[in-house]
Amino acid sequence: MKKFLAGMLSLTFALGLTAGCSSAPTAESSSPPPAESEQATSDQPAEQSAEQSADQPPDAAQAVTLNVFSTYAGSDGNAPNYQDALAAWQQGTGNKINDTSATADETVKGRIRTDFSAGSEPDVLFYFTGADASSFLDKVLTVDEIRAQYPSYATNMREDTSPKATDGKWYAVPVNGYWENLFVNKKVLDAAGVSLPDAGYTWDQFLIDCQKIKDAGLTPIAASFVDVPHYWWELSIFNNTSPATHNTIPQDINDDAAKAWIAGMNDIKAVYDKGFFPENALSAKDEELQELFFTDQAAFLLDGSWRANTIVTRASDDDEKIDEARLAEFTVVNFPDKGLGRKSTDVIGGMSSGWYITRKAWDDPAKQAAVVDFVTFMSSDEQVSKFAGANSATALQNGVTVDEATLNSLNKEVIAIINAATAFTPAVQDAVSGDARDAMFQAIPQMLTGSVTADQLIGDFIAAFTPA
């Protein structure tokens, strides 16, 4: 009897240990994986399923759970809009979303690469279209492939302005575009006796202004080179190239692109050496140093269009009522130009992200219609207008619908900057594969402190870079 009991106990223990290894949910399973647990086996043709999903909420037996990833997370100004959209789609369709959205830092990009390699990719993802996506293009569908079965898919988008992958094909349905420019805290400028920069803001004038701000005991530029050197890297290089040549990646240390990149790095070092960045720019994270800008201690913040929403949020009370007087203390201006190939009104921007549908979800009869419906919903004119607002460009055939009466002062200034832009040039860092880029960004603090030169930095990059 004791032997029998001992055997049974061992068997139970062994089964307990291996329970998590099972790939298929069992009847005893208390919490099976959501994607598989709630989907029903369907014999319906995909077309029929799609029509049903779009027109009426499926009953409980047909409801599916989609695994969704997006970069609408953390301090992204569209994170609340994204959550609202998820809730609306779930309520409207009866389906469920298992959301794993995260801020798109290098760790998360690594996670996405790993998920695709390991076969655990999400069903749908909102992700970058450049080199970051090149490793998984064979595991997502092109828009044309989807249209072969769902002809109306993404027909509200312009193909010519939608972002293409590194192989030139259109996979991702875009939502909102981006731009990178210089946010200004006018209160700090006033305190330092510096005039608000105008459309023809020059690099030399920028350095003079920074010196005045520093002399006034304030921090000229809020920036961290620990985790977000991207913006300074991009714009400094842009200042030494032109819209036509900016997206050329160096192949040799002596080519024009390499020389421009080296000059750009040296520009950042010159600003660092003058003490225009915070004293702890090499030892504090970006969100910590952004606080200097939001709390009237730093004058300039070089960032992406998404930061406009953060500024509005920071100028609002707990009930989301905007303090217009406070908001009017912030604005956005063109990044100063060096008078080489780029005009100050030439802007880094465009569309570099979009909604992908993975082959894994497409090949699952229970999910195919749902993922198409989900992307159609998230890229509808209504949702895109909400996400893009007045702050960014879109690929919508009919453009965004914005109620001008609802625009705040920062929105209006952003529209003025966008309308006055003489060129929109995609960020070259999006065309550079992750590992070589990460190593280069990681070495920027060393370059700033002088332990490596800009030439070495770019030389190492060229040695490590493999074109996608």
């Binding site: 055997g7 062994a14 915070p278 004293e279 030892s283 504090a284």
Partner: protein, 293 residues
């Protein structure tokens, strides 16, 4: 008949099998694969090996040429020394003091043990807010005293990284040592008192010798634990900031593998960490041989 179960070893092996299988599948197999990976060419997470390195031991040569790895190794050795001196040392000091008080001993035990139950993420944020340059707690105190803000995380990066790690685990060793102290019979102390041993002499000649085995265990645990420290330093000092000065072997391995996708080199670092751990554990066991009293 009743004692047959103790004579027949079969059921015992049956009990051991699940745990053995678990360890084989989730520890030894990955470790062996990791050793093989360290000789292979693997760029990018999830990618299969694209052949063998040329020469096959290339990653191990690179370890000794890599300045960042040297920094990581030196910092880890500092961490190791710090854990012995400050974690075990402070824990011993605190437990001796708590053992000598009549009231509130339980209160202090709870207080000192408390950091153990707080997650590393929360502790990282807590200490970040203390050491922050702009608006950090310490700099606010300094500002109150009319002193200029100090960039703690740059000027004292190693110390700022070690302090929270030391603080976090003092309570763990404190509890072990207090338990050891409770096992020392009061009769011995009374006899020593009659012989004139009191105060420091009591600690020197009674407590410490009788605690020796417990202290050996604590030191072994702390030195091997120091090699595995990852979470708190990674939260406070991501990417070896500032300027690659705060790498530890664990954080550098993670960065190489997961951030740079240099999987084979990350595997070589992992093998090195295990080898170092085994050597140091053996060394600690040899130097601190437990004694029978």
């Amino acid at each position: 008949m009743e004692s047959m179960i103790y004579k027949k070893k079969g059921p015992l092996f049956l009990f051991l099998v699940p745990a053995f299988v678990f360890i084989i599948v989730y520890l030894f197999y990955p470790f062996i694969v990791n050793i093989i990976n360290s000789f292979s060419v693997i760029q990018g997470l999830g990618n299969l090996p694209a052949g063998v390195n040329a020469p096959w031991y290339q990653n191990y040569v690179r370890l000794f040429q890599d300045q960042k790895f040297k920094t990581a190794l030196v910092n880890t050795l500092w961490m190791l020394a710090g854990t012995v001196v400050f974690q075990v040392g402070l824990a011993l000091l605190l437990s001796l003091m708590v053992d000598n008080i009549r009231k509130g001993a339980q209160f202090y035990r709870t207080v000192y043990f408390f950091p153990i139950v707080i997650s590393a993420a929360a502790l990282g944020l807590l200490f970040n807010m203390m050491f922050m340059m702009q608006g950090g707690m310490i700099n606010q105190v300094l500002a109150g005293l009319g002193t200029k803000a100090v960039n703690w995380k740059e000027k004292f990066s190693i110390q700022t990284m070690l302090i929270p790690v030391m603080w976090q685990y003092v309570g763990f060793y404190f509890v072990i040592i207090v338990t050891g102290l409770n096992n020392i019979s009061e009769d011995i102390y009374e006899a020593a008192k009659i012989d004139g041993a009191d105060g420091i002499k009591r600690v020197r000649y009674i407590t410490l010798p009788l605690l020796f085995n417990v202290l050996c265990t604590c030191v072994t645990l702390s030195v091997t634990g120091a090699l595995k420290v990852f979470d708190l330093p990674w939260i406070m000092f991501p990417n070896g900031m500032p300027v690659d000065s705060t790498w530890l072997t664990g954080t550098y391995m993670y960065y190489s593998t997961f951030n740079l996708g240099d999987v084979d080199y990350g595997s070589a670092i992992a093998v090195f960490i295990v080898a170092l751990g085994v050597i140091i554990a053996r060394l600690a066991n040899t130097l601190l041989k437990e004694k029978d009293y």
